[in-house]
């Protein structure tokens, strides 16, 4: 278990490092057309290591730029969903009663709406291609599960004697939530958030695949895959490169999240 976790971490650090360092590693910017090499396969001499797309843009540069977008959106959207989810879930679980019922019914209702639909509506409210809109849209649906998890944990913490002891010590409710509940739900939250990141990345890629996400000249892994799929028969690398990057990223995050969860769930830490 430890070994798998370490491997996943190494892969993630390498991918992130590569994505950040990419502008210095390749002579080609991600948005410049190379008229000599249009739709050319990977080659060492031309320095287009992963080939170029139909317009002659370097796929390595575009792939790395896309990964920066994916990672940024994944991590930030997970953060947004953690913040909203923890606050919502802890408040509902701790206060209980009608407040809890009302807050959790709200979550149920949002859950019941087709969330792609919500995201599509939200993304039309913002200018096309705005990354901020993507964060908000993805974060707004991502917190629902987090709120349920935190509420469940809070309900069981609420019955623990140390919470009663804090009440009996005269600690105010917000302080109890902040000092006793939140630190004690942190562990499952971190594990779930790690599993949440790949979902967010996948979701963003899906939106971009549909053309609702990141707009030209910027790319995201989803939009690259969408473009590549059109040229799949003549130039398969255009599909394979972004697809391989996305898969590696998702697998690494999932392995990390699963190992974290297994580690935290096992009785011997």
């Amino acid at each position: 278990m430890k070994g798998r976790m370490r491997a996943a971490l190494i892969v993630l650090v390498l991918l992130a490092g590569l994505a950040l360092a990419a502008p210095w590693l390749t002579p080609y910017p991600h948005d410049t057309l190379d008229w000599q090499h249009q739709a050319s396969p990977p080659s060492i001499e031309s320095m287009h290591w992963l080939g170029t797309d139909r317009l002659g843009r370097d796929l390595f540069a575009r792939g790395m730029q896309a990964m920066r977008v994916s990672l940024l959106i994944g991590v930030l959207a997970a953060l947004v969903s953690v913040c909203i989810g923890v606050a919502w879930g802890a408040a509902a679980g701790y206060v209980g009663g009608r407040v809890d019922a009302a807050m959790m019914r709200f979550v149920d209702i949002v859950y019941a709406l087709p969330y792609i639909f919500i995201v599509i509506i939200l993304s039309t409210l913002f200018p096309r291609g705005s990354i901020a809109a993507l964060f908000i849209a993805i974060g707004a649906v991502g917190w629902l599960t987090m709120a349920r998890i935190v509420r469940g944990q809070t309900l069981s913490l609420r019955r623990r004697e140390f919470v009663d002891a804090a009440i009996a010590s005269g600690v105010r409710t917000p302080a109890i939530l902040w000092r006793h509940i939140v630190p004690n739900v942190a562990v499952p939250v971190i594990a779930y958030a790690t599993l949440n990141i790949p979902q967010m990345i996948l979701f963003e890629s899906f939106l971009s695949f549909l053309g609702l996400g990141v707009q030209e000249p910027f790319a995201s892994l989803g939009s690259l895959i969408s473009e590549g799929a059109q040229e799949m028969e003549s130039s398969p690398w255009m599909l394979l490169v972004p697809a391989a990057l996305l898969t590696t990223l998702l697998v690494a995050f999932n392995v990390l999240g699963e190992s974290l969860r297994a580690m935290l769930e096992s009785p011997h830490e």
């Binding site: 004697e161 140390f162 009663d164 010590s169 005269g170 600690v171 000092r179 006793h180 630190p183 004690n184």
Partner: protein
Amino acid sequence: MSERPLLAVRNLTVTYSGAPVVDNATFDIAPRRCLGVIGESGAGKTQVFMALMGLLPPQARVTGHAHLEDIALLEAAGAQVRGRSVAMIFQDPMTSLTPHLRVGDQIAEPLVAHRGMSWQDARVRAAQLLEQVRMSDVPRRLRQYPHELSGGMRQRAMIAMALACDPKLLIADEPTTALDVSVQAQLLKLLLELIQERGMALALVTHDMGVIAALADDVLVMRAGKVLEHDAVQRILTAPAHEYTRGLLAATPRLTALGAIPRAVQDLPPPLTARNVSVRHPVRGGWLRARTFAAVDDVSFDVGSGEALGIVGESGCGKSTLTRALLRLGPASRGEIVWLGRAVQDLGGEDLRRLRDGMQVVFQDPFASLDPRMRISDIVAEPLRALRPALGAAGRNERVARMLASVGLTPEYANRRGRELSGGQCQRVAIARAMILEPKLLVCDEAVSALDVTIQAQILELLDALKREHGTSIVFVSHNLAVVRRLCERVMVMYLGRIVEAGATGAVFETPRHPYTRMLLAAVPLLDPALERARLAALDVRGETPSALERPSGCQFRNRCPAALPPCAATSPGTEETGNSHQVACLRWRDLAN
């Protein structure tokens, strides 16, 4: 002892990654005899028998020899021995029974599996076994699920399962620790009779000297994996050779010991008065029927300053619900609770928070009552942070250091976390947290019940000092009568949410007026083997506390009361004064007094 031993253990050592938890244990158990193994937590007493049963985790290393008649236990595959020659019962019968199987099938299953019986025969045998463990209403019990049985009945069912394959040796690991005293007494009597009837040997692991006195013939005293002493029970309990055993005995509270003596009546009004307090819980009824039951029913009492009031009773009597109502932690109560001249029930918000200043609480489970993520110094400082914000960090640290010192914890503990401390140390931290505001009232809900006797004695000493030196009032909830005797000036006995008897501790314990109080007192084990066995033989304890939902009409104790007469079913007894502020709620107390 000339008989050939049934079980012979030689130089048994159990180590976990090099550290011995059982160090060179050597002992015998003869047929028809009981070996008691006593020691505090971490003594390795359970490990000895887990090793013999082959139930230790794989990382444990076991060396030495153990023979049960001709079977070499340590070499034999565990399953050959388990459930046939040796059977084991544990502290918590709920976790050892499968929740979704009926009790009868659960007992019958091993008979079908190991003995090749048909299901029909096995069920008949299961019924016989339940008769043998004196289970009441056997045909119904066979069809019930474990959660429908009370703790005492579940333990009986476990014993019946253990007896199913006629073991030669029964290992009982804290068999009565989770049970109320009256149920404990019934089970001790049962075990004593079973040894004689079946010619079975019993190995009894316990931390309770009273249980040892009741059952053991020989006693092994263990500490930190080592056997300190091995002798006949009479000698261990009267003239122990080892200093540690003497310490254990001295720390064990006794009912007969001289307890706290009530002070002269003070003319000051008592800081806490409760009048006609009731707490009702809603129960989900059958068909759209909202029902409630009274967990606490019309209870009145006072607590004077510098006085400790003991609240005793068996599980389900409402004692914890009552303390939670006092502290305003639980569901709303009816009646009137007045604390320093203010009615507590109607307070809310900031007023309620300020009330906490003078009223603090110590809970039963020392680990659960400390936030696992906080450092000890932060835990103790929390009430100051909340209610003395003007103090500042420096002032807080200084007070925390002083408080930790006064509960006997050195400054190096300040930076540790709860799980790095022992149970006793955690309870000291909980007491430090409760005392840091110098409250006028300290509520202790089974505060010493989970602790080993030596630590229990230290904590009681600490509480006694608080009471005497700071004039702190204490409400002390416990099911342990001897502990209450040691600490409390006055005592209140509760049964199904009502007070059945109240008065000065000495008066109530020496001249109990209510049959329930008598029964409770009679159920406490004595520390003298001869007296204890005579007591068990003569014991007449009936039934168990019914659920508060099935409250009998009239006097609610009548269906367990040895003195009940027809009028008891008709009239609910009121509280009467028997003199000297000793109160009792029994219709027949005058007849029974003589």
